[in-house]
């Protein structure tokens, strides 16, 4: 059992992180904490992707000695880590930054309107004013 956990530790870490994020999004009353939970959730997925590209004993995927006159060497795929998941994650990081930006801007609007960021207080105010 322990071997099973340790041999796949990257997946366990991503699942635990994801659950922490999900808990924060569902369980926390403060909207900023919800947003931080969302960030943890997204980061967990980014870590998952990055870890899938890794190969034991492999190096960065920069081909040395190829191109100028050395093009006939055989490229051993196992020697280089897979760069594609990392490239995908650059896009996902940009997306997550943009989402955080929009969410923070929305939080500013909410704070200006209700003067608080606690969800239950906002619901109280909305109930009282009938909006």
């Amino acid at each position: 059992m322990l071997d099973y956990v340790i041999s796949k530790y990257n997946f366990w870490i991503y699942i635990i992180l994801m659950m922490i994020g999900l808990y924060a999004m569902i369980g926390k009353k403060n909207l900023v904490k919800k947003l931080i939970g969302m960030n943890i959730f997204q980061s967990a997925i980014i870590l998952f992707y990055v870890s899938t590209g890794v190969k034991a004993g492999a190096t960065v995927p920069i081909l040395s000695g190829h191109g100028h006159g050395h093009g006939h060497e055989v490229i051993e795929v196992a020697k280089y880590i897979n760069p594609l998941p990392h490239v995908l994650m650059l896009t996902a990081i940009v997306v997550s930054i943009a989402t955080t930006g929009v969410a923070i801007a929305t939080l500013i609007l909410i704070y200006r309107k209700y003067n608080t960021l606690e969800e239950d207080e906002i619901l109280m105010i909305r109930k009282e004013t009938g909006v």
Binding site: L35, M38, F41, I45, P85, A98, A105, L107, R126
Partner: protein, 500 residues
């Protein structure tokens, strides 16, 4: 030539959206004509693409010339060309409509509104056109992000609704991203056609099953399927009129399109039907969506909030059509994507026009609206009859195919839910029509001074830029109904997977 149109459809609105701030900085009132002019190009392109697909069959466009499994390709087949025409047509109509609504509601936000509007349209088109699962995620997020911001500039309570949507929508998108990750681990490919080739031997793998589960849940969140619809009513209801007229018809339908695309193109139909029991679950969720949406809609006194719950029910229609997984049901689902987009656009445009003219959305305050706004109310009535399912309006035909599909699949309860929903729609919409056409003025209001009763009600029609899209949509409801046989025989029957 048609291949170049495929690129133009994405590039033109994307680049044009970056120019909106420049134009707005120079002269603010030029933003509107710029956006309308720009959106004509995707409409022409998508019509030309549909024409090419109908004559010569499917084709693809390689971005930067990279061959498919490595590069990103845009795939134009009957289904994507069909949905592209819907998206580009409705976004153009809503853009024409938006002039007065934006001047009235968001005078200081004109420039950001039009920038985000074009970005949202770009995202929706990109989702439909792309043949790459990760590229689809990027477009999904482009459309979602601009949608969050557009909702947040709405009325009282909109920022809170937008924040809830951000949280839930991001979970949906992240689940979709995880699904891509699992597929990539198992297959090493991101291209839809390539995945469809690699996947069949791996169908028993748990990784693929998990990926499929993540896709289904993620897209159900994005489509607002019951019980993942909780973000939808507040977000769509508090958004500005022009925004809800764009997102209510298109966002959920495009997510339903992605569902069809993944379940029947990336995965073979027999995987989605036989190996995982997903359609039984989705079908019952859709039944609950129809019933719950209908009941909640009945309880509303606010016209827009009522329509928002109708959207929840309509998502159920499309998902039922997908879940019965036979030729008739899927034909109905694809037809309903078009019909529902047109009907919902028309209803939300009318609601926006009523709000603009009378300043109210309460159903019981709509009396004598048939004399004040005859064309708008006529359009509303036509669309309402179509929602109920009265021929020759288009709503009848998609419902007909959906019900035939459920009967063929032997799901009698689902057929009953569809029929009940027609009844609920009849009650819903006739209540509005009764208030608008037949109900006298509110007694308290009329007794104020005896003369107000006899006073001639002035005709006060919506402005021209609002009226034109509304009338076009209402005419579309009838025309699409009359020509639905032709649409099915020339486009939709090729969009349904051949193995059915």
């Amino acid at each position: 030539m048609a291949e170049q149109f495929a690129a133009l459809i994405i590039v033109v609105p994307l680049i044009a959206s970056l120019f909106v701030p420049v134009i707005g900085w120079w002269k603010k009132r030029l933003c509107y004509p710029w956006v309308v002019a720009v959106l004509i190009i995707p409409l022409i392109s998508s019509l030309s693409i549909l024409n090419t697909v109908m004559t010569t069959g499917k084709f693809s466009y390689r971005l930067a010339g990279w061959a498919p499994p490595w590069g990103i390709e845009y795939v134009l087949d009957h289904l994507s060309a069909f949905v592209l025409v819907i998206v580009s047509f409705i976004s153009l109509m809503v853009a024409i409509y938006s002039k007065k609504s934006v001047q009235d509601n968001l005078p200081e936000k004109t420039v950001p509104f039009y920038t985000l509007f074009l970005l949202l349209v770009t995202g929706l088109m990109g989702i439909v056109i792309t043949g790459d699962v990760f590229n689809l995620f990027v477009f999904l997020e482009i459309s979602a992000l601009s949608c969050y911001a557009l909702i947040a500039i709405g009325e009282e309570g909109a920022p809170m609704a937008a924040f809830n949507y951000i949280i839930i929508g991001t979970i949906g998108a992240c689940f979709y991203l995880l699904g891509i990750g699992y597929l990539y681990i198992a297959t090493g490919s991101l291209n839809m056609a390539d995945l469809a080739n690699i996947l069949p031997p791996l169908y028993d793998s748990k990784v693929i099953l998990v990926a499929f589960a993540f896709f289904t849940v993620g897209l159900a969140v994005k489509a607002g399927l019951f019980p993942m619809h909780t973000w939808l009513p507040d977000a769509y209801c508090t958004a500005p009129s022009a925004v809800s007229a764009l997102i209510a018809p298109l966002m959920t339908k495009v997510a339903a399109y992605v569902m069809i695309r993944l379940m029947f193109t990336v995965f073979q139909p027999h995987f989605s039907i036989e190996i995982v029991p997903v359609f039984t679950i989705l079908g019952w969720l859709a039944v609950m969506a129809i019933v719950w949406g209908g009941i909640k809609a009945l309880a509303q006194t606010d016209l827009k909030r009522m329509l928002v719950y109708v959207v929840v029910a309509e998502v159920g229609y499309i998902v039922i059509g997908v879940s019965v997984a036979n030729r008739l049901g899927l034909t109905g689902a694809i037809l309903h994507i078009m019909n529902d987009a047109v009907m919902m656009a028309c209803l939300f445009l009318v609601t926006g026009a009523i709000l603009y003219k009378t300043g109210t959305r309460e159903i019981h305050q709509l009396s004598h609206l048939n004399k004040k706004m005859p064309f708008t109310m006529a359009a509303f009535t036509i669309t309402a009859l179509s929602m109920v399912g009265i021929p020759p309006a288009c709503g009848f035909f998609s419902k007909w195919y959906l019900i035939l599909g459920t009967i063929e699949a032997g799901q009698w309860f689902w057929a009953a839910a569809l029929l009940c929903s027609s009844l609920i729609n009849a009650v819903l919409f006739f209540r509005v029509i009764e208030c608008a056409y037949l109900k006298p003025m509110e007694p308290a209001y009329a007794h104020d001074g005896g003369e107000t009763i006899h006073e001639e009600i002035q005709r006060d029609e919506a402005p021209f830029t609002m009226l034109v899209p509304i009338v076009i949509m209402a005419a579309g409801v009838i025309l699409l109904g009359i020509f639905s046989g032709k649409i099915i025989s020339s486009v939709i029957q090729f969009a349904v997977p051949a193995s059915f």
